[in-house]
């Protein structure tokens, strides 16, 4: 059993969050394109290892496409529309690495593991508990969102771009109101379940999750340090 725990095959959410904080500077400073590209590749590697290869491929490809499109447009004569596209694209492109790590955290962290990790970090429960609920609730909202959309489509109220622009308020009403009423119900069930499992207690909870740092955490923190230095000083 002990040997198994040593070989835990993914980093803990704490080191993932630390990595995310370390690379946030990529949005602000004038970071060299090569550094951003390395960061995108590294985050892609993380997604391949711990999440899904298709997700990783999607982000890396998007980045490459945006980068090359920008440079192609720059070769063309200076039309202001092109300039505008270049600016917007070069800003949005910088979000991609953070987005990738955020996706890794949201998709691979279970609420139980998250709560156990945050408890170890002595994070007050007023933050960790709502956040864990958010993690748990995202997939539910997404599911509801899709079923509401198909129900709307059946009645001929599609969520096409034209519809949103033409009747913004109506669209909002038709989507948010059903979403809210179904979420509230799920929410009440969720609170009952959570309280039954002792989440409302004052005392610390015990957990079956192994949240000790493993080799992956040390590697990830090393990477965080390297990228932080690269982003800030190079």
């Amino acid at each position: 059993m002990k040997g198994d725990q040593k070989r835990r095959s993914r980093p803990n959410v704490r080191s993932e969050l630390l990595f995310l904080l370390a690379i946030n500077g990529v949005l602000i400073g004038n970071v060299k394109p090569a550094v951003i590209f390395a960061l995108v590749l590294f985050s892609g590697l993380l997604l391949c290892l711990f999440c899904r290869i298709s997700t990783a491929a999607k982000y890396v490809l998007t980045y490459c496409l945006m980068f090359s499109a920008e440079h192609l447009l720059m070769l063309l004569p200076g039309i202001s529309l092109f300039h505008f596209i270049i600016v917007i694209s070069s800003v949005l492109r910088k979000f991609i690495p953070c987005f990738m790590v955020g996706c890794l955290i949201l998709e691979t962290t279970t609420p139980g593991n998250f709560l156990a990790s945050m408890q170890r970090l002595h994070m007050p429960k007023v933050f960790s508990l709502p956040f864990a609920v958010v993690l748990r609730f995202f997939p539910t909202v997404k599911e509801d969102w899709h079923s509401i959309r198909s129900a709307m489509k059946l009645r001929g109220i599609g969520l096409s771009f034209g519809n949103v622009i033409a009747h913004p308020l109506r669209t909002v009403e038709y989507i948010i109101v059903p979403l809210l009423s179904s979420s509230i119900k799920i929410g009440d069930e969720l609170s009952a379940a959570a309280i039954a499992r002792g989440l409302g207690m004052e005392r610390d909870r015990t957990s079956v999750y192994d949240v000790r740092f493993c080799i992956w955490d040390h590697l990830l923190m090393l990477a965080a340090a390297v990228f932080f230095v690269l982003i800030t000083f190079v």
């Binding site: 955020g102 748990r136 969102w145 009403e173 809210l180």
Partner: protein, 193 residues
């Protein structure tokens, strides 16, 4: 803080934060269309209003709005929007909470006001663009030339942050009022609000 927040309150915060964030985030995808990007300060408070007003019907203790505001900041940080929304959200959330508290957690006028202040975290995301304006422009100038930088400046000049800030507050008010009436129209009847 007279009463401590219990497990149910914290779970409510989580649920509403998730719904609010998803809805605002999907709306913010409209910002991928360049011309709509500054318009998000108008659209997001309008859309988020109804969720926020429903959240307020669950708020009876100090701290719930504040925590939700901080959570929004953290979620923005995670989704790669930098830490400005968090920095703003810590303060605007506290003020929004105090405003709603001053109405004894039941006044709808105070609720609408508090939504306007709460919405400021959306504005916070734009600070990334303004606060790093100069260094940003300089690198662009080296890359694509001065003429282009001038064009960009004319599209989003430095002073435009005042407009965006005002838009967030005003449409926060309108969004709050719309949210209130939407609650009355649909959800009160179902016994949810």
């Amino acid at each position: 803080m007279k009463e401590k927040l219990n497990g149910k309150d914290l779970i409510n915060i989580g649920i509403f934060s998730a719904i609010y964030f998803v809805i605002v985030f999907i709306t913010a995808m409209l910002g991928m269309v360049p011309i709509l990007y500054p318009m998000l300060t108008v659209i997001c408070p309008l859309v988020g209003g109804v969720v926020y007003m429903l959240f307020l019907t669950r708020v009876k203790k100090f701290g719930m709005i504040w925590i939700m505001s901080i959570l929004m900041g953290i979620l923005m940080l995670i989704s790669g929007m930098s830490w400005y929304a968090l920095a703003i959200g810590v303060f605007s959330g506290l003020i929004a909470d105090l405003i709603f508290k001053s109405g004894n957690y039941g006044s709808s006028v105070k609720g609408v006001l508090s939504h306007a202040v709460f919405s400021l975290w959306i504005f916070g995301n734009y600070l990334l663009f303004y606060l790093n304006h100069e260094s940003y422009m300089k690198t662009r100038e080296e890359m694509v030339g001065k003429e282009y930088v001038d064009k960009l400046n004319s599209l989003l000049p430095m002073w435009s942050w005042v407009v965006l800030l005002a838009a967030t507050l005003i449409f926060g008010l309108i969004g709050g009022m719309m949210g209130k009436s939407m609650l009355k129209k649909h959800l009160s009847k179902a016994g949810i609000a």
